[in-house]
């Protein structure tokens, strides 16, 4: 179709119009309702006076610092907020973080003596200020601009500068330097050195390197001491006497989930997906499990593509929830309704929905299953029930080595550390009777323990074969902690995968088996931790069907659209998950092509090679029964290379891994990449496997190009990455 007449257009328009009217029919023909428009909360809480007067705002909020940021894409603003947070945590000083566009500068000279002003300034383009800093720069640089003192002078004004720029541009950090120069000229006094960050590579390191010296100088210039800040809370927690129970969050992940209103499902509003299939994938499960779970997404509006990730939102296991409730002395009050408010919304937002209950926060919203961090232990020591416990926590927070052996290697969670410090028995089921209560304010728990995050898995299905179902392949994490003089070795369970395993048992009506105890020296046998999988208000259970809250995260891990391009996939263990999806994607395409063009339709397709590895073909061979069928449907275009590291050995007895098979197949591999313009995908362990495979690739390509792995090989690998023809989906 080379030309378009206006009649075509008319046909098109009518078609589109009809389609659009159909699509929007509900909205179009719905009765017009009065629109309720949420009103943005008024920024200026000071009813008094000029909203552009930052001095008045500082005085009102008892703030001694004002931080201006010149930001175009948000980076400078982030650093401004970080500086404000650090000033607060180090010195207990509150800051006013300001967009310079929203304020006037005539009274900059009126900044009280015990105050300081920070400038966090980005340089844009050819040495220009960011849009929001244009007026600020004009005011500072224009000598006829008068401050309230009637002069262009800022005698004695204390200021700090952090400047952001990019070394590959000519006018590196010009604006920050200009601010510094012009302020000095006006008689202002800089605190510490001027910080300069290079956005091209090392912004973060530049900042870290600069800030300590600056804070030292700041402390001297402002007459403040470090350590004054620990007690300034971020949040106010209040117990609510009466609150409509239907408005209390009991683990719902979004407002829509609580009010049961429609909306699309994404990371802000996960979809409770019914589990339609849940089965074990390992042939032998005596020491490990791997679950295959199919999540039904019908009528959710969720779509996905092969190679995408699914985020599963777990909850914390029952035993850890109870343990921490007891250690915090909240067990009796666990279901009390609480409201939480941020005391400085610019610096800290309440990380989960409220109002809620103590038990809900610990179960659904914060990550209490992680190993306790060193910093938090120091902060909690002052709430210890006795001097010994206090000394114990202080010791851990200051002695890195002891923390490492006792807490990190021992895999102790916060609740367990508190029990250990108070001399409680860790192996008993926690109760208020056997657990010492600490009087830690709950706001400290909220601000120091991060939000419970979704666990991401590479989707192991293709939407072309399974449009309404997302498949997850997850090896269940379970390992023993390293014993030390205070704590025995115990079984540690990964939160996400054990949550899935729990769901699998529940979905099939199975009972969880006891975990193998091993030798006597190890911890007492425990059952696999239980979870409240029925969800808040039973939302994740419908008769006998269980649901898991999920959302889809887009990835760039995709097959080339054209099936003629050869494809090489390397995915040992559960690294094979996305490749099952890839193969299914090609199978669906093969079926369509054969239907349309007959049995020879795949003749010009590129080779599809999968390098897979596991221990034994009879023990942990994932999807063993499915591969032959895929091979048949792909008419010889799909070859599988398997390394069974505990079954087939080299003549000298050494193990064979995927990279060895890749090397064995080097001629074909090089041909597919160099002549066939093929694509390579690596999925699985980032540290050893992925690195070894990349090295092997460099070796193969270097040799094929008649050079070395180090020079020609690495250059070829880099080029492949830049063209997105070598892609990684790896984890550590």
């Amino acid at each position: 179709m080379a030309s378009t007449s206006s009649s075509d257009v008319l046909v098109l328009a009518v078609g589109v119009a009809l389609a659009a009217i159909y699509l929007f029919r509900d909205q179009l023909f719905a009765q017009a309702k009065p629109k309720s428009v949420p009103v943005p909360t008024s920024k200026a809480s000071n009813g008094s006076g000029n909203p552009r007067d930052f001095i008045a705002k500082m005085k009102e909020g008892k703030k001694r610092l004002v931080i201006f940021y010149g930001s175009q894409t948000g980076t400078a603003e982030e650093y401004a907020i970080r500086l404000a947070k650090e000033a607060k945590s180090k010195f207990g000083l509150a800051s006013l973080v300001c967009d310079p566009e929203e304020y006037d500068f005539e009274n900059l000279d009126q900044l009280p003596e015990d105050c300081a002003v920070f400038f966090v300034m980005a340089t844009y383009g050819e040495g220009e200020p960011t849009d929001n800093a244009v007026t600020l720069m004009q005011n500072l640089e224009d000598e006829s601009f008068e401050f309230s003192n009637g002069e262009h002078k800022l005698e004695g004004l204390k200021y700090v500068v952090f400047s952001l720029g990019n070394k590959t541009y000519e006018h590196y950090n010009k604006i920050g330097r200009d601010v510094d120069n012009v302020l000095t000229k006006m008689g202002a006094i800089r605190i510490g050195e001027r910080g300069e960050g290079d956005d091209d590579k090392s912004m973060e390191e530049d900042y870290l390197e600069w800030k300590d010296g600056m804070w030292d100088a700041f402390s001297a210039a402002m007459g403040v001491e470090e350590g004054q800040g620990g007690d300034t809370p971020d949040f106010a927690v209040t117990e609510l006497e009466s609150h409509p129970p239907e408005k209390v969050y009991l683990g719902e992940l979004s407002a829509r989930a609580l009010t049961k209103t429609k909306g699309i499902h994404d990371a802000k509003n996960p979809f409770p997906a019914p589990i339609s299939v849940a089965r074990e994938l390992f042939q032998s499960t005596h020491d490990r499990n791997c679950v295959h779970i199919e999540l039904n997404t019908e009528s959710s509006g969720i779509s996905y593509q092969h190679g995408d990730h699914v985020g599963v939102w777990p909850s914390n296991p029952d035993v850890e929830v109870t343990r921490l409730l007891c250690a915090l002395g909240l067990y009796e009050k666990k279901d009390n309704v609480i409201g939480i408010e941020s005391l400085d919304p610019a610096l800290a937002k309440v990380p989960f929905p409220v109002p809620t209950t103590y038990a809900t926060v610990l179960r659904h919203y914060i990550d209490i299953s992680a190993v306790a961090g060193r910093q938090i232990l120091g902060a909690l020591s002052k709430f210890a029930p006795n001097p010994e416990a206090e000394a114990f926590l202080k010791g851990l927070s200051t002695n890195k080595e002891e923390y490492h052996t006792l807490i990190a290697n021992g895999c102790l969670k916060l609740g367990e550390v508190l029990q250990l410090a108070a001399g409680n028995d860790l192996s008993a089921a926690p109760t208020p009777e056997n657990t010492t209560a600490w009087t830690i304010p709950f706001d400290i728990i909220v601000s120091s323990i991060p939000r419970l995050q979704p666990r991401y898995y590479s989707i192991s299905s293709s939407p072309k074969l399974h449009p309404n179902s997302i498949h997850v392949t997850a090896v269940v994490l379970k390992y023993e902690s390293i014993p030390n003089e205070r704590v025995n070795g115990r079984w540690i369970f990964g939160v996400g995968s054990n949550f899935l395993l729990n769901l699998k048992y529940a979905a099939n009506g199975e009972t969880a088996p006891l975990v193998a105890t091993g030798s006597e020296s190890k911890a007492a046998s425990v059952t696999i931790p239980g979870y409240a999988i029925e969800g808040p208000r039973g939302a994740y259970k419908q008769e006998t069907i269980y649901k898991a809250p999920i959302h889809v995260r887009r990835s760039t891990f995709r097959l080339p659209t054209n099936p003629k391009s050869p494809v090489i996939m390397i995915g040992p263990g559960t690294g094979v998950a996305p490749f099952r999806g890839f193969i299914q994607e090609r199978v669906a395409l093969a079926r369509r092509s054969i239907e349309k063009n007959g049995p020879d339709a795949l003749a010009d397709w590129g080779r599809i090679s999968l390098f897979y590895g596991c221990r034994k073909s009879t023990e942990d061979f994932l999807y063993k029964d499915e591969w032959p069928q895929y091979q048949e449907e792909l008419r010889g275009k799909f070859t599988m290379h398997c390394a069974f590291s505990r079954e087939v050995y080299r003549p000298d007895g050494s193990k064979i891994y995927v990279q060895d098979l890749l090397w064995d197949d080097r001629e074909q591999v090089a041909d597919a990449i160099i002549n066939g313009k093929g694509y390579i995908y690596i999925c699985g362990d980032a540290k050893s496997m992925s690195k070894a495979v990349e090295e092997t690739l460099a070796k193969i390509l270097g040799e094929a190009k008649g050079g070395s792995a180090d020079v020609e090989g690495n250059a070829e690998v880099k080029l492949l990455k830049e063209r997105s023809r070598l892609m990684l989906d790896v984890w550590s």
Partner: protein, 287 residues
């Protein structure tokens, strides 16, 4: 069109030779509204929908001609392609599933054969390099104005790229610059010393800018909305009602978008005159 030394590499020819067209776009009221995120919510969505069609056409054509020697060095849909992220963003902003707003009939009609696929390079250049530069400023403003969360990236994926040669999101200006440098090197490699092609590409790139200017001019900027816009993702009443006018304007936009892509340079100057005719036709419908 400015006269540019055709012995320069194509990346420089296009940079120098489109300064005027580029500035005209950048200074247009539509561009200002976009940068200041002053568009009403519906209008912003409409803009994304038009872009979705434009990128669909460009990316499908690039895909068909991936092996073309001029296009091959910059062919990297995994890094550059915007169509699916636009779709996700529209969905996030409207809070309706992707399938419900994508008008399927269009898919088949956009299948246009081009006369010289090499010229597609001019369109990649005008769009992708713009997204990598000014797009990053728009992203931040848009996030603030419509209450979108930059951390989660929901509703903002159109503006978000991955680092060159990696799956890690690109966050700094430096990351963006590396992609731009890579893209320009690929253009130069693909075009080489072919002055005839260079000339044609320069003409095409200017046409692409004109078309983009037309797109921005079509945005209706509401004076009242120069004040902060109501955040999009605040809880809104479950049932949203679109006025007939809004829906009609969406349809018109889609039609216009279709013209942009039909004519989008694939048929040269003859196409451009058709665009003018089409615009008159659309205008007559609206008046």
């Amino acid at each position: 069109m400015a006269t540019v030394d055709l012995n320069l590499p194509i990346s420089e020819i296009l940079h120098k030779g489109t300064v005027k067209s580029h500035d005209e776009v950048a200074k247009s009221p539509g561009a200002a509204a976009l940068v200041n995120a002053a568009l009403p919510r519906e209008e912003y969505v409409r803009f994304l929908m038009i872009l979705w069609h434009i990128y669909g056409a460009i990316e499908e054509a690039l895909e068909r001609h991936a092996a073309n020697t001029v296009l091959q060095p910059t062919y990297n849909p995994i890094l550059l392609a915007r169509k699916s992220s636009l779709s996700a963003d529209i969905s996030a902003v409207l809070q309706v599933p992707e399938s419900s707003w994508q008008a399927h009939p269009i898919y088949t009609i956009t299948d246009i054969e081009s006369t010289d696929p090499s010229l597609l390079l001019a369109h990649s250049y005008a769009r992708y390099l713009g997204d990598l530069s000014g797009g990053q400023v728009i992203k931040h403003r848009t996030a603030k104005a419509y209450g979108l969360d930059e951390q989660s990236n929901i509703g903002l994926s159109f503006y978000t790229f991955r680092q060159l040669g990696s799956s890690v999101p690109a966050t700094s200006q430096g990351d963006m610059k590396k992609i731009k440098v890579w893209f320009k090197a690929g253009m130069d490699a693909g075009v080489g010393d072919d002055t005839k092609l260079k000339e044609a590409l320069l003409r095409e790139a200017n046409t692409a800018f004109e078309l983009n200017a037309g797109l921005l001019n079509d945005l209706s900027i509401d004076e009242k909305l120069q004040q902060p816009v109501v955040p999009i993702l605040q809880p809104v009443p479950a049932e949203k009602t679109y006025s007939i006018a809004t829906v009609f304007s969406v349809i018109t936009a889609i039609c216009l978008a279709h013209f942009l892509l039909v004519i989008g340079g694939f048929t040269g100057a003859k196409g451009y005159s058709k665009l003018l005719a089409a615009e008159q036709w659309v205008a007559s419908l609206l008046s």
